[in-house]
Subunit: 452 residues, 2 copies
């Protein structure tokens, strides 16, 4: 006989959306059970402790200045943040040349700089016309949703060459999927949800401005600790059955009978849960379309951040390479030194096809070229292929193909009977970020508290 | 000849509303001049440095957990916050008895506790029906605005005695004025703007949860530093003259010609500025009615927070006494020990009528009774009578008499020609708090950036 628990609410998934929903519901005097498939909490945020105790983030790590919901949650549980290291020169590898620069845009040709700036202004201006809560109601929604992001970049006026490569890589880094298969309306909505395209790209004043003391997972861990026995790990949900006045959430070993459920899994994973009654076709189409793309994040750990003393920020890029973007992801103490290296979309896929020794050599060769010979000898080398993670399957978030947002967008947050939905894909403000996940959890909890 | 400066925007007042508006406008590439009457920035926030360098707050000091706008501004300029000290027993002086308690409500009679809890639930429920942006459109707005806060407390069901005295004092602490002359709708709006009445009363999870490293004024000082020469101190504005395409803001010694102005002074002070064209009668009535009440804040400084070792939190109360409420307001380091003591409304007025030596004796006697003999010998004793401050005249914010909010409320934020309005009295979320001031400055800046 499977164990059976009664609760007011059953939360499926213990990423930031699920943990926040559970916390707010508990604070609202609801009894809660959280079922998490993995043996850890945090979802796409995954903090690992090195042998010396230092915390590094294998997944989501950065918080932008307007990410009030996650900052508020961090304050609540007594976790501090610090500013990402930004001093020193950034590097852009352009064929045989390595360019040093500071600020957001490298000193590539003046024409490229101007065309990128103009394209960004136009993008921000269009994004302002996208209603945050209902992007599908924008006046030009149908037109924008029929086009792909690649289509727009092609017509953006950005001069072909390293400038366009860099811009394309930065946008591909946001969605990680094939930009030919990503709706331009989704890009405009994403920009709207973060204020401007530069906010998404930037460290200072932008989405990569702050890191979390003890790693981004430390907040999740404390929230989970507060939940105590309500938190059930290693409990993947198989089925959700709804009755007139309750919902049964079943893992095989455990059945939770609740008044409401909050499902927080990435949309593409929702279709693997056996719903009874079944999910309607329009929802199935939405979830099947909302896949997340390939992204690899490699943490290269050194005794110290030696590049800082050499006058480098650790921020480097080479579109199309094994290390398309690197950032200094060292702890606030500056010890150890950590470089986070990323590849996105098709580049990540290509990179993943190499064998592990080749991948390591490709990364260390690229870093050595940029940061000097000390880069060749890291003390740790930690790879995470997010699309291979059974309970995530792609990062950092789902990208929507053309035609989906206008047709099925309203379903993202619409309850299905007693099942409410959270997760960063369902958020408006901070869509796709940790902060969006937290906000979505608060929204779902409020929906249930209002209903009962 | 007075000095003349041209700018895009002239901001009147360098409290948190004015400083934030100026910062956001500068970030939006507008040229700005800020005119401040005092020789310091911060307005109702006033950090003083003691001889040993420790910072204490003579005015606004506390930040609640949802005060995202001021926390965001603090992060932007690199200022940290810390949690208000809450460990140990609180004390309530009730006639000859001194009761120790923990949590929010003292262990007075069970009936009093229950009636207070029920009254708070009812208050929160009514407050939920007040639209945050337009409280005057609540279905029962006319009825609630016709009643006073005192009228409601009388009918609240709270048993007469120390319980009701305590509740009345806590509400009087929010408005500081005569509760017979304060609109019940204004109280409901205030509760709505902060989420619940307990949020307003509480340290943990509430409006007194966090303090600012280096004092609440340190954020203002850094924002002002960033503004550089745009910041003009000791420049009280005498007149504001509007033309077709500009506005002239004049101090006698200096005339600023700008496209727009942002006036951030407390509403009651706006009537002292000579407007041309003159302010219409409805605005004058609103501003003349929106006075702030008497409140005294006394900082009593000791070598160390000795009460902590004795098992006391430093949180004490005795409604009607010279020290109606005290809180531990020590710096994060715990050195020196600082007790902040408050009296509100008529009690503050009565207290102020004493001569300084009598006031000092009254405060130290009260503290000694509560915290023991060491309380009799502070190293510093700093009084601030906010209603006597020429450029503030009452704290912590304006309270509206019955009938004003429904009739003139929409004018609080409505521009007057090229003059926009900010200040915590114009805010919705966090109305009356520092966070509200910051939000109002951001809103006024956005209005102008949208117009131009």
């Amino acid at each position: 006989m499977p164990e059976r628990i009664d609760a007011d609410v059953c939360v499926v998934g213990a990423g930031y959306a699920g943990l926040t929903a559970a916390r707010r519901l508990s604070q609202g005097a609801k009894s809660v059970v959280v079922l998490e498939a993995r043996d850890r909490v945090g979802g796409r945020i995954w903090t690992q402790h090195l042998s010396d105790g230092a915390a590094v983030d294998r997944g989501g790590a950065w918080l932008g200045p307007k990410h009030d919901a996650i900052f508020g949650l961090a304050r609540e549980v007594g976790v501090s943040t610090y500013k990402t290291w930004v001093k020193g020169a950034h590097l852009l590898v352009d064929g045989e040349r390595t360019r040093r620069y500071t600020g957001l845009i490298p000193k590539i040709s003046p024409l490229a700089v101007v065309t990128i700036a103009l394209a960004q202004v136009r993008l921000d201006r269009m994004a302002k016309k996208v209603p945050l809560e209902t992007p599908w109601t924008a006046k030009r929604a149908a037109e924008w949703d029929a086009r792909s992001v690649a289509w727009w970049i092609e017509r953006s006026g950005i001069t072909a060459g390293i400038g366009r490569d860099l811009f394309e890589m930065a946008v591909r880094g946001l969605f990680t999927g094939d930009l030919n298969d990503t709706s331009f309306l989704h890009l405009l909505f994403l920009v709207r949800a973060h204020g401007s395209i530069n906010t998404l790209f930037s460290i200072e004043g932008g989405s990569q401005e702050n890191m979390v003391e003890g790693g981004a997972g430390s907040i999740a861990r404390r929230v989970a600790d507060d939940l105590g026995d309500s938190m059930r790990l290693s409990s993947p949900v198989r089925s959700i059955t709804q009755g007139d006045d309750h919902v049964l959430v079943d893992t095989g070993a455990l059945t939770v009978s609740a008044r409401h459920a909050v499902v927080t899994v990435p949309p593409a994973l929702a279709v693997d849960i056996a719903f009874d009654p079944v999910l309607p076709d329009d929802r199935l189409t939405l979830y099947r379309s909302a896949v997340a793309g390939p992204e690899s994040k490699t943490l290269v750990v050194y005794d110290e951040p030696f590049w800082r003393a050499d006058g480098f920020s650790g921020q480097t890029s080479q579109p199309g390479s094994a290390c398309e973007v690197t950032l200094d992801a060292s702890p606030a103490t500056g010890s150890p030194g950590v470089i986070a290296s990323f590849a996105f979309g098709a580049v990540a896929e290509r990179f993943d096809a190499l064998d592990p020794a080749e991948r390591r050599r490709a990364v260390l060769d690229a870093l050595t070229r940029r940061l000097g010979p000390r880069a060749a000898s890291p003390v740790e080398f930690i790879e995470t292929a997010w699309w291979a993670e059974e309970w995530t399957r792609g990062c950092s978030m789902a990208h929507l193909p053309p035609g989906i947002l206008t047709r099925y967008g309203p379903l993202l947050r619409e309850p299905f009977g007693r099942v409410h939905w959270a997760g960063t894909e369902t958020s408006t403000t901070s869509h796709g970020a940790i902060d969006g996940a937290v906000r979505s959890g608060e929204r779902a909890a409020a929906e249930i508290l209002d209903r009962s």
